[in-house]
Symmetry: C2
Subunit: 214 residues, 2 copies
Amino acid sequence: MDSAYRPTPRTTPTRYRDRASYERQTVHGILDEALICHLGYISDGRPVVLPTTHARVEEILYLHGSTGSGPMLAAQPSGLSVCVTVSLVDGLVLARSAMHHSLNYRSAVVLGTARLVEHPDEKLRALNALLDHIRPGRAADCRPPDARELAATALLALDLVDVSAKVRAGGVSDELQDSTLPHWAGVVPLTLTAGTPVPAEDLDAAIPVPVYLR
Amino acid sequence: MDSAYRPTPRTTPTRYRDRASYERQTVHGILDEALICHLGYISDGRPVVLPTTHARVEEILYLHGSTGSGPMLAAQPSGLSVCVTVSLVDGLVLARSAMHHSLNYRSAVVLGTARLVEHPDEKLRALNALLDHIRPGRAADCRPPDARELAATALLALDLVDVSAKVRAGGVSDELQDSTLPHWAGVVPLTLTAGTPVPAEDLDAAIPVPVYLR
């Protein structure tokens, strides 16, 4: 398998082409780190963007939904044209000039036709991937879905083919003539930080916080 | 002005209606806290979702872009049908059952027709709002855009009319019969945390970190 996705007209940006990347490793890293994605599709001729959870299994992106929700219904029977975008914000970039303010970020865009996952085996595989996406190891440490629960879960699958990433990293890029202005310039790093796990009120006190949450 | 937005068919969720909110205060809080939004629109009959920055000025949402980028071109002359979604992730919800795993989150969805901001005064107002959205006080503490820079900036404006929020907060909601299973259950709080500001390499060492970054 190539180490990079093949750029297409739709994944070639009109702006900041130097920020674009098609490396599988970069794209996978973004998809795997982000906890949510934004699923875009067309409903009644108008755009809809919903936040949902996702998980990657090799070159398939699974999206979580539930039977009866808009995109799941729309995906039947022939698939749904979607744009799935995943974004991570890494920092505030404060330049001396208003114009050069920016964010450090990593984003990935996946275009294609999403299909409804129908086979119970694939459903279970996707659900386990979603659980392990929350924290690796969680799928094996909870009660698996029963047949009724599995039937009530709807999942979309999207092949990673028409894919691109965009990354802005590093420092401020002010104009040379602005470099002596008396304004602070630099980057404020941002991180999504996990706090101390809060056990359910009725949790048996003998059950310790699992290793994968520490 | 009413304290809440008026629900419409498009902003009434098909699922988890108890999580929906139309309160202005809730919606404004989400829009104002989130650093980025996801802008959905239709291009050549297919959905596109782009991450970008935004800022709210009373009941207008401004979206940052640049001349020549897709949505800005598409917005001329009659406006662009968009869905702007903003999402904040507040925690991982780990239930004893696979099925009840969830995230705590707050999201807002704004539907409507975005117009290109054309008047230089409004452009400047929107840009200042974007700067103060990064950190309140920043707009007054940097070099304002000159005429050329202002011309190179494209902004969309979207009235806050067809608006809704969705909030999931609190603890685990397992089935009663699962409450004695031997799996840890609870919530891992998540926060976007700002690290120590990193000054630009060529920053005059006499310029202190501004109060609004401390």
